[in-house]
């Protein structure tokens, strides 16, 4: 970000109009305090996490959960909260500090 040459006001589009889909380029995952950890073995593929995730951060492959998009996940924990697997959930939340 800091190395990129920023545009002057004459080069900006009128009314701050941008091309669509810019949120994808804007990585917001570093706002996260706790991160979801997905356990493939425990997962029953009910897709509740995918339905509930407010940031579309559950990655699906061929209709099945394949991982978590940590570039955009903000660590809200809804996926883990909604995971019905017992006694230990297929998605558990761990602190960012611990995971490093």
């Amino acid at each position: 970000m800091s190395e990129e040459k920023k545009k002057g006001w004459k080069e900006l589009p009128i009314g701050a109009t941008l091309e669509a889909g810019t949120a994808k380029e804007y990585k917001t995952g570093d706002w996260r305090n706790i991160r979801p950890v997905w356990n493939k073995e425990k997962c029953i593929q009910c897709l509740r996490c995918w339905i509930y995730c407010p940031d579309s951060s559950i990655i699906l492959k061929d209709g099945k959960v394949a991982g978590i998009d940590l570039d955009h996940c903000k660590g809200c924990g809804i996926c883990s909260e909604e995971c019905p697997v017992k006694p230990v959930k297929a998605i558990t939340m761990v602190s960012e500090k611990q995971s490093k």
């Binding site: 545009k7 006001w9 900006l12 009128i14 701050a16 941008l18 091309e19 889909g21 810019t22």
Partner: protein, 392 residues
């Protein structure tokens, strides 16, 4: 064929809106602007316009829906007054920053408290720095003519515009208004081609995205430049209007200014009263003039100060008060522009008048000219700020 109609200011505006035939009107009623959208909603219900009329639950929603409609790529309008404009406040800035050419008639009314429904300019003066073009009209004819021009101005500059009349004094008074044929109005405003319509699904866009300290300033700077370019557009479209319909408008109107030694600067319907005072004093041989400011945003500083620089003394009449500002809003801008644009600096008096619809009479204005005469004679101004018609 042109028709001379006996209609009120509100009716003239509603009729112009009918002839403009916008794609979307979203509005909420408020005295004294209610009739504009009430009459217009009847046009919509009767199928006389193709407009999608959206009755919303507040003015905040009215401006929000109008912004949405305009961003989608439609010609969108609304109308309001006073508290309604105040409730639109945060959305006004969004409309102008997104560069949406929304046209909004505004009926000038005081702001609460105390609750009052009558004319003064506190409402739109409060919105003077919101990035909207502002045109203040003297009468119903000018409101009709200005609204038609406003569509072109907004769409060429990609900026929103408000066209105002004084509450009740103009909004509810019946005058003869010369109206044009629908097709002539349509020909004049032309077909609207939006620059970046949201509904163009082949070219998807993002609008209203977040802008941190790395870009916000640049976006504001480009918005300032958009405003800087408005003045010649207003003059160009006024000239075209004059050629097509035969009535001439400018950034301001000069009345008996050529050899004037003293003058009044005024906005809105009071100019009509002031012209009578000028006529009376001219008959007595007094060299008095009048400058009626029509376009307040963008403020025509250079041209205005040139028009005033040869005077010995000027009185600026403000129908609103800055409360603890240096003077009323019109006076501060007139004085600042003279200070920076002109070597010659006439003496300046400010008169606050007409708050909450308090009437102003020919005699009141003649007295202002008498004060100016005294200032010229003595070379001294006793008070910068004076009041007309308030009981001590």
């Amino acid at each position: 064929m042109r028709k001379l109609l006996a209609i009120t200011g509100n009716e003239a505006i509603a009729y112009a809106m009918k002839q403009i035939n916008p794609d979307v009107v979203a509005a909420y009623p408020i005295t004294p602007a209610t009739e504009i959208v009430q009459i217009f909603s009847q046009y919509a219900a009767d199928g006389e316009v193709n407009t999608e009329f959206v009755a919303v639950e507040s003015e905040h929603s009215a401006m929000s829906a109008t912004i949405g409609a305009s961003a989608a790529g439609s010609r969108a309008m609304t109308a309001t007054s006073s508290q309604g404009l105040a409730l639109m406040w945060e959305m006004l800035y969004i409309a102008s920053a997104l560069r949406l050419p929304i046209v909004m008639p505004e009926v000038n009314r005081s702001l609460s408290a105390p609750i009052n429904i009558h004319a003064d300019h506190s409402d739109t003066m409060g919105a003077r720095d919101s990035g909207w073009i502002q045109i203040y009209c003297e009468n119903a004819q000018e409101a009709y003519d200005s609204l038609i021009q406003a569509v072109r101005i907004a769409e060429e500059c990609l900026l929103p515009i408000m066209v105002t009349i004084d509450g009740f004094i103009i909004s509810h008074a019946m005058e003869g208004v010369e109206t044009f044929e629908d097709k002539d109005v349509q020909n004049f405003i032309g077909k609207y081609k939006p620059a970046h319509p949201l509904l163009d699904i082949n070219h998807p866009i993002t609008i209203g995205a977040i802008d941190f300290n790395d870009y916000y300033f640049e976006h504001k700077r480009s918005q300032i430049e958009a405003m800087n370019k408005v003045e010649p557009v207003i003059l160009k479209i006024a000239q075209e209007f004059n050629k097509t319909f035969g009535r001439s408008y400018g950034l301001f109107e000069e009345y008996m200014m050529q050899d004037a030694e003293t003058a009044i600067v005024v906005i809105g319907s009071t100019a009509g009263t002031a012209k009578v005072a000028v006529n009376n004093l001219r008959k007595q041989g007094k060299k008095v003039g009048l400058l009626r400011l029509r376009v307040f945003r963008p403020f025509p500083a250079e041209k205005l100060s040139k028009a005033l620089s040869n005077l010995k003394a000027v009185a600026v009449l403000d129908r609103s008060t800055g409360l603890n500002a240096y003077a009323g809003p019109v006076c501060t801008e007139v004085a600042s522009s003279l200070y920076t644009n002109s070597e010659k600096k006439p003496k300046i008096l400010n008169y606050i008048y007409g708050l909450g619809g308090r009437d102003i009479f020919v005699e009141d204005i003649e007295n202002v000219y008498k004060d100016l005469e005294k200032v010229v004679k003595t070379g001294r101004t006793e008070n910068l700020i004076n009041y007309i018609g308030v009981r001590e």
